[in-house]
Symmetry: D2
Subunit: 446 residues, 4 copies
């Protein structure tokens, strides 16, 4: 009893219809749901196509529903969050509507972006297989261009590593991925969580990932070797909203505790990355550099005073002639901490400031690592997060007995904080600036 | 308070001394222990070299102990197991010997093979870092030649996937690895386990891996990118003892339950494999083919009657002219199940029979997968284990409610066994022969 | 005024028709010619399809001719050579047949195998571009599976390196390739050569390559990155005819001189090989090993007496239990020299003997090099030929003044034979057995 | 009778001495020559070290000479050219100096940069092997970082392709390489060429390559798989002199004819590039971008009027905020042609202008191609040169009968210029702007 949902907004209609068709024909799928952002032209075209198909002599073999998303949240921008949450509501209650002809509650809810050109029946099969093995959540992950995924790496993964270093969160491969499968009890738990229902914007994926971890659901990350081919963004500017909303979602959770009790989290091994992905370049570098000098206001320059010298001066210089090498890992992390305390997602100056900082960070990463090749770049991302979560773990427990990471917490077998990793650590921990007191955020204060 | 132990038997002495030196100079290490298999020439040379060093004007800066291993077990062949267990005994009690000058109990015990030519201080640092992060066990893993590790893949990983498919065991990267670090409470727990102390042979690594999982210790697998360079075996014949003893260790555990409660198991991401490893070929193919016709006895041919037709006839034909393509994944798994029930490690005919079957299996794998390149070969290994643990999970719970894989076992949210993965599964599950009733082995009987 | 010819025998008809279509639609092509081996079913189907197309309301926009090949040779097996030579005859005379409506002599003749699934307009464009740049001959070359092309490497390239080491012949990438373009004057020169016209079998490609070099035609080798996908042979047995006929072609030329005057030979740089090619395995190893014990006769064993001990004894042992490691580079080269003197393509015992030796050589190469990865295997092939042509060059001029390799032969600047490459040569020259006197074959005797 | 010469200026002394030692111990080498740029500290240290060695009880086994370079040219900056030419003079006359104890004229002259850290005896052996095979010139080539070699690709190779497209010059792998071996008759021919002797600066390598081709010497390019590790330049600024002098050398030759008669040019096949080279990034991008706004003068802006709109406006805009995407292949080639006519190596404004254009070109290449991976970048370089030499060949003969590229020029078999490559050419010829009349430079005017 699986329902496959495709949220959509403005997509290539033939791709959407092709994907609906693949889902309908899969023998594990009982129904398909399309949730549109608004009743726009794309919506009308898809609606008409489905109608036509169902009135033809070869109608869909299974129900294909189409809805406009409900406004479920009250404060944040209505966006993908309202869409996915609308689908969850539909999923939970579908069997109570006689018109739907479902004889029992639906068991599994799949989400896939509607515009995936490389979508095929394997996405559904792998998710169903994982659910059949008993996993509460199956998330797809896949190879990505080395310049893609920079909201994931610089914002979500860095945030998870800083705030919940001893949990499974920093180990989730693609925490912002929108291709996943929830079992019914997961949907129930998420819908019971007001902060999920209120997250109507791009922050929704962060919320799903976070609360699944907090509630201890078991997770399988399943590998899709061909990757996710879909419409590309034009330049980094298109990502500003996503960046701000994803950061704000992490920020809103920063005082949330996550238990360190173990959860099941398994990762299907990856395979070599096809050259069409390693050779793709995700954004226009020259155009993106220009963002560093655009839309400055006096107030933005004032807000910069909250930041460490290096970030502040670097960004000011970059407004005159592009610089980005100042925004190294350490500079970004120190700025990130200030942002956690002060960022305001409703304030355009803050939005513009975090955006410029992130642009500098992405340029730094591109020039320093991407130019050295795909594997170097991916390794740089991975090592940044590993270093952070290690360093952060050490800090959190400095001077205090650290708890072993297992289910039977024993006493008396403390790891001594007095033997930190040697300076020439094999993990390559870069010297970080002295950190601000950990009491301002993070879980140690509780 | 870390102790680094190098078990040894007959090694290149300069390599051993070099490794001792690296350990002594590491600032996390308090003492080094060498455990020799017997008082052979190698032992005497190392002993003399340490004496000489300590009597020189530049003695070791820390204690370097050297012992001959104690006979701790009673039944199995005295081997590496006695050596490592001797080291564990020393570790636990060292602070009680005033001569040792340890002011408090030692906290961490590292093991490294004495003959690793690529050993450096990073191995120790990574293990200490992991322990400092709170992991009970840190295991090193590393890239290996595609023709190496065939006892691991065909014997240990296949066995773990068949017997404990829903646990963390099939996901352990290198379950036979001898480079690891235990915290004191792990050593205590292992020494309290009689079956560990009785495993005096090559089966010891299996025991350590198994009981750490059974007891729920948290595990970090730490990646060593340069790999483990060490003395090579001459041909597959050298591996017969190891094969038999590793299989027997799995077999002896086959009725042991392992809880499906989650444990912490994290895997440091791997990096691209250096070409010196991808281009290495691990054994002499022509010479190994000859093993298929050697040492046959009438009784071996009689024992073959216990096996399915395909394995039986294939092996008989191979005694006349080499064949190995019959020994595909399915044939090997079906033979493996017979071996689990009938193999006798003390019976030379059984030892020779499992050895020939394994040689055929390794040749099959080499000709079918290794010839297609390093990544194909590694992927074939990984997928074999993934398929097995998935198929086995499905079987174990056929017709019964399957438990979700999380810490709070809920009721009423069962995954329906009536929707198995579609035949054209994206996981590529090969059709397996009908399985013998699961009551004969495995954990479902309890 | 280009004619594209597809020789064919028994092919997948839709593939052939698709390729005809591509050729017809190319704006550099004036006509297409299909030459069938016999009037078999494949021929009739293609004939009918072309008729039908031409009688439809969308006929081919250009003439598409279909012929059965003429028997042009008298002694050798009628085969691909008759087919290609038939096409050359057609090409030369086509403008004299009023029915053909060619207003002037055709200028360029392209050949492509009819069964290439990866054929597209680029093959034609690249050849036409090369011809437009002034090259007499354009040959396509492409990446191939590491187990493919073993007639090319072990027979043709080894022969060229041994017999004409100082010419361009050992540097031709794919001397047996059937995808090429000749300008009219090349066709005229080849047709004037009786040995070309008599080479009615698989040896035709060798003849074309050889006489183009001997006559000093300029050559461009053009790279086709996607490779040549086509029907695969089942096992090495299928290649026996090709092997014998390609060897016999080289053998028949062994007393032919080739001038060392420079010719133009340029090689379009290759690009990284796609994984679908690096991961392909070309033949069935287990099945091929069986060839070593099949079809032995007493006379074959007698003929083995002509060969060096190592080859003779190795092959005899291999008839009882497969061996192949004896057939290393040096053993193969020494056997090759005996074959050059004694092989008789009309004698079945000789055919079977060269075949078994070659099977052993291919197995040796597969086990020693292919198992180490695609790049190792290709490099082993390349280095074998480089070593041979170097060593052979040295031998040919031992004790005699060597001529500089340029167009103005100067005197008095001799390279001293007394300073051979040092034993630990960077070219990795393996020690070769003392060679038989060079007077028996090769060009030095003239 | 080989002489190995190391030109040097200011190098790491131990590296130089190590390389001298390797050369002395090679059994093909008779003497070593060090040519210093000036009597600086480096010179004095090396001099002293050699003296000391020769006065020790283990003196060099062969003569090691050290000289300060002679001022041989009169106009151009004294530099590497004077150094190498000094070595050639020494080589030619060495046997006439009784003090040198050479009983006969030296036969081969090797050059190696003195600072190569990856130098070993194989460099010498490969060159000697090639010379023993009869090649007049052996040039070493090797894998290089994708951001290295941008004077070679953008200046020398582009120039060779534009000016002498039908000769061997555009096919020389590393025309600026300083690791090579000349036979005596080559040295004689080069020294007889006044333009070589006058090229005292960085242009010397261009001269050697050009005149060897013009005189028809046979060439082997020998591959050194480990690459050339040596001291790195700090940023692109360091390369300004080299850029200007290499361009001026090409420019000075632009009216020189090169015969299209074939010459022997063979290229030892390359092997996969080690990751230490693919992962190296050759220059500081952020620092290099700053060069675009530095050192502008009013006169430079005036000179820009000579250039096409796109280059002119792009460079002016880049002086205010960095741009480089305008400097694509076509823009660079059109600017190159203006530079060929107008550049003045003695005029600082011209030097600064060509430098800025080249910086923009290198940034364009880096952002567009290097970010997509090593192989993409190398392929982009190769294809740029291939496209140019093809397009240029077509242009040169437009409307005129084109000569076949072989040694027996035949008549009557013309390639028709009226069938140009199709627009969607498989060689990917980018549409080039209409070219300025070819009469202004290049060989067609003669």
């Amino acid at each position: 009893m699986a329902l496959v949902c495709f949220p959509f907004k403005k997509e290539r209609v033939p791709t959407v219809l092709r994907n609906v068709d693949i889902a309908v024909r899969h023998n594990c799928v009982d129904a398909v749901l399309l949730v549109g952002a608004t009743k726009n032209e794309c919506y009308r075209k898809i609606y008409a196509a489905i109608e036509a198909k169902n009135n033809s002599d070869q109608p869909y073999a299974k129900p294909v529903h189409i809805l406009v998303q409900t406004r479920l949240a009250t404060v944040l921008r209505p966006g993908k969050g309202d869409g996915m949450n609308t689908a969850m509501q539909f999923f939970l209650n579908a069997h109570e509507q006689p018109a739907n002809h479902f004889t029992e509650p639906l068991k599994r809810l799949h989400f896939y972006d509607a515009d995936i050109e490389s979508f095929d029946h394997n996405w559904i099969t792998k998710a169903e297989d994982g659910a059949a093995l008993g996993y509460d959540v199956v998330r797809h992950y896949f190879p990505r261009s080395s310049t893609d995924a920079q909201v994931t790496w610089q914002v979500t993964k860095v945030g998870f590593a800083l705030l919940w270093p001893r949990t499974t969160l920093p180990w989730v491969q693609q925490p912002l991925g929108g291709e996943l499968c929830f079992t019914r009890r997961v949907v129930e738990a998420l819908m019971a969580e007001p902060r999920v229902m209120q997250q109507s914007d791009w922050g929704i994926d962060t919320m799903y990932t976070f609360f699944c971890a907090q509630k201890g659901f078991s997770l399988l990350e399943s590998y899709v070797p061909q990757g996710k081919m879909h419409a590309l963004y034009g330049g980094l500017r298109d990502l500003k909203n996503m960046l701000c909303e994803c950061f704000a979602a992490v920020q809103s959770l920063r005082h949330e505790p996550v238990s360190e009790e173990p959860t099941v989290h398994r990762i299907d091994p990856a395979t070599p990355v096809p050259s069409c992905i390693t050779e793709k370049i995700g954004y226009d570098i020259e155009k993106s550099m220009r963002l560093l000098r655009e839309k400055w206001t006096a107030r933005q320059k004032g807000l910069l005073e909250l930041f460490p010298e290096k970030a502040k001066c670097g960004l000011l210089r970059a407004s005159e002639w592009p610089e980005f090498m100042f925004m190294d890992e350490q500079c970004w992390v120190s700025a990130y901490k200030v942002l956690l305390d002060h960022f305001n997602v409703f304030d355009e100056d803050w939005r513009e400031l975090i955006f410029k900082m992130w642009v500098a960070r992405v340029l730094n990463y591109t020039m320093r690592h991407v130019t050295r090749g795909y594997h170097c770049a991916l390794q740089a991302n991975t090592e940044m997060v590993t270093r952070l979560h290690m360093r952060r773990t050490m800090e959190l427990f400095e001077g205090k007995p650290m708890q072993p990471l297992d289910r039977k917490v024993s006493s008396g077998h403390l790891c001594t904080p007095e033997s930190p990793p040697s300076p020439s650590s094999s993990w390559g921990i870069e010297p970080l600036q002295p950190l601000s007191p950990v009491t301002s955020y993070g879980r140690s204060e509780r």
